[in-house]
Structures are given as structure tokens and as C-alpha cells.
């Protein structure tokens, strides 16, 4: 078989053709496409690197804040009770008379129920207590 040599052959054309008048309106099509691209340049939010990195940073900051918020709530509650107690005991002018003044009949009934002291117990206390006179006079 004779060896095929490109240079010995007549130039082989690619053979590609185009539809008639294809190039006539090509520039119009390209202009339309270019203007459309210019007008509607929508970049989805999730594809923006800056938005993504901001989102990630926000998540990290919020995640770091969770234990701080929890601790803050817990400690502030305990503090409140302790402060209140200290305040009532040492820094307020409240005495037992002020407290008694604020008790109504229902409170007194409740107190009686809570402090149900038997007569015998009362007698024992009175008999054994050395400050009995002080209590009576008060």
C-alpha cells in the first residue's frame, strides 16, 4: 500500500460549513447576550466567599458565647440570693417588730401550724431555760 503523505496530497479542507446568512445577525445576537449578562448579573448568596466567611465567623462567635451566657445566668442567680440574705441580716433596719407588723391573721395561723409545740415541751423549756425572767419581761 502506498504511504499517505499529507504534503503530496491536495490540501484537504475541513469540510465545515455554516447555515446561510449565519454571520449576518451574529453580532446582534452577541450584543443581546452581552447586554443581558450585564443587566442580570445575579450572584447567588451562597457563592459569595465573603458571605460564607462572615457566616462561619458568626457561628464561631455564637458558639463561644454559649458557655459564657450559661455561666452568667447561673452565677447571677446565686449572687442574688446571697446578697439578699446579707442585706436583710446586716444592712437593713428591719427588726422582728417590723416583720410582725406585716403578718396578717392567715400568716399567724400558718405559723401556729408549723410551730405546734406541745404543752409538755413548753413546760420543759420554761423549766430548763435560765433566761426565763428575761423572756417573761420581754
Amino acid at each position: 500500500m502506498k504511504a499517505f503523505k499529507l504534503e503530496n496530497e491536495p490540501k484537504i479542507k475541513s469540510g465545515f460549513t455554516t447555515p446561510d446568512h449565519y454571520f449576518d445577525d451574529l453580532s446582534t445576537k452577541i450584543f443581546e447576550l452581552a447586554n443581558k449578562e450585564k443587566e442580570v448579573k445575579v450572584i447567588p448568596l451562597y457563592r459569595r466567599k465573603s458571605v460564607l466567611s462572615l457566616l462561619a465567623a458568626a457561628v464561631v462567635v455564637i458558639a463561644l458565647m454559649i458557655p459564657i451566657v450559661n455561666n452568667y445566668n447561673a452565677t447571677s442567680k446565686e449572687l442574688d440570693e446571697a446578697t439578699l440574705e446579707t442585706y436583710l441580716s446586716y444592712q437593713s433596719n428591719l427588726n422582728q417588730y417590723d416583720l410582725i407588723q406585716n403578718l396578717d391573721s392567715i400568716d399567724i395561723q400558718k405559723l401556729n401550724k408549723n410551730v405546734a409545740i406541745e404543752d409538755e415541751t413548753l413546760e420543759d423549756i420554761l423549766a430548763t431555760s435560765p433566761n426565763i425572767e428575761h423572756l417573761i419581761s420581754e
Binding site: 499529507l6 484537504i12 475541513s14 469540510g15 450584543f31
Partner: protein, 180 residues
């Protein structure tokens, strides 16, 4: 003929932009069409790639530094667009780029926009056996009649390397056609 720098200025100036771009399209539409068609082979795909190429040229013109000629810059965009298009199409169909090219050549026989016979088909079949770079060099030199200097600027290689590439391509094609 106006100076290229002046022409680029006209392309960038909003007042003269449309007229200049119109001229750019009419000057380059045919050679760029042939260049893309030689890579993607079918007319409809070429039409898509060619339009995208011009849109990209229009979009990126403001970034054009003038380090290379406008001509080679546009060819480079067209080549990249065509190759990207092919690889995306192959990926979409789940086949290799080579199989995609084989299919495209088989379809040429029934393509109304292909006016070739056996020898053209055989030549195309021989070309796809070459590595991608050699395919490009061969098509640009043989079908498009571009000068080595021009191809070198488009592909960013030396003229010497291109000559060697073309020489290898021709040898392989001749061998393929002789034995098939």
C-alpha cells in the same frame, strides 16, 4: 488601518464602544468560528461557544493589558472556551473527552453543515488519536493556515516546540491514514 492601541481605547470608551465592538465581531467572527468549529466539530455547539467567547471578550476587555496582541488574546479565550465546553459536555454525558470526539466524528456523516467525504472523516479520526496540544497545533496550522509565530503567541509556546509538535502530528496522521 487604525493602530491597535487606539482601537482598544475605542472599545473601552462608552461613546465609541458599540461601533468598535461591532467592527471587532465582523473582523473576527469567521476566523474564530473556524477555530472553535475545528475543536468542537458541530455547528450548534460552535455557535454557543463563539457567542460566549465574544461576551467574555467584551466583559474582560477592561482587564486586557496589551501585553499580547488583541488577536492572540481572543484566540486564547476561544480555545479555552471550546476546551472547557468539551470537557463539561463529556462530564455531563459521563464519557471521556476522547469518546465524545469519536461520537462527534461519527455524527459528521449526517451533519447538514458538513460538506466532506471519506478523506475528511479519516483525517478527523486520525487527529483525535493525537495528544490535545498536537491536535490544536495541527488544526491551527493545517486548517486555519495560522503562522507559527501566531500559534506560539496564542498557545504560549516557542516556535521551535510548535514546529516539532506539528512535525510529530503530521507523521502520526500519515501513519494512521496509511494503515487504516
Amino acid at each position: 488601518m487604525i493602530d491597535e492601541k487606539e482601537f482598544i481605547q475605542q472599545l473601552l470608551d462608552p461613546k465609541t464602544q458599540n461601533t468598535a465592538f461591532q467592527k471587532l465581531i465582523s473582523d473576527y467572527q469567521k476566523p474564530l468560528y473556524s477555530h472553535i468549529r475545528n475543536i468542537v466539530l458541530n455547528h450548534d455547539d460552535t455557535d454557543d461557544v463563539l457567542q460566549n467567547t465574544f461576551v467574555k471578550v467584551f466583559q474582560y476587555l477592561k482587564n486586557f493589558k496589551g501585553e499580547s496582541k488583541l488577536f492572540s488574546w481572543m484566540y486564547r479565550i476561544a480555545t479555552n472556551e471550546a476546551l472547557t465546553f468539551l470537557s463539561q459536555k463529556a462530564k455531563l454525558k459521563g464519557i471521556t473527552a476522547e469518546d465524545l470526539q469519536k461520537k462527534a466524528i461519527d455524527n459528521l456523516k449526517s451533519d447538514v453543515y458538513f460538506d466532506g467525504d471519506e478523506i475528511q472523516i479519516k483525517l478527523q479520526k486520525a487527529i483525535i488519536t493525537l495528544p490535545e496540544k498536537q491536535q490544536l497545533v495541527f488544526k491551527m496550522k493545517y486548517f486555519e493556515d495560522l503562522k507559527y509565530e501566531e500559534i506560539a503567541e496564542i498557545l504560549g509556546t516557542s516556535v521551535g516546540a510548535l514546529k516539532a509538535s506539528y512535525h510529530h502530528a503530521v507523521k502520526k496522521i500519515e501513519l494512521y491514514v496509511t494503515s487504516n
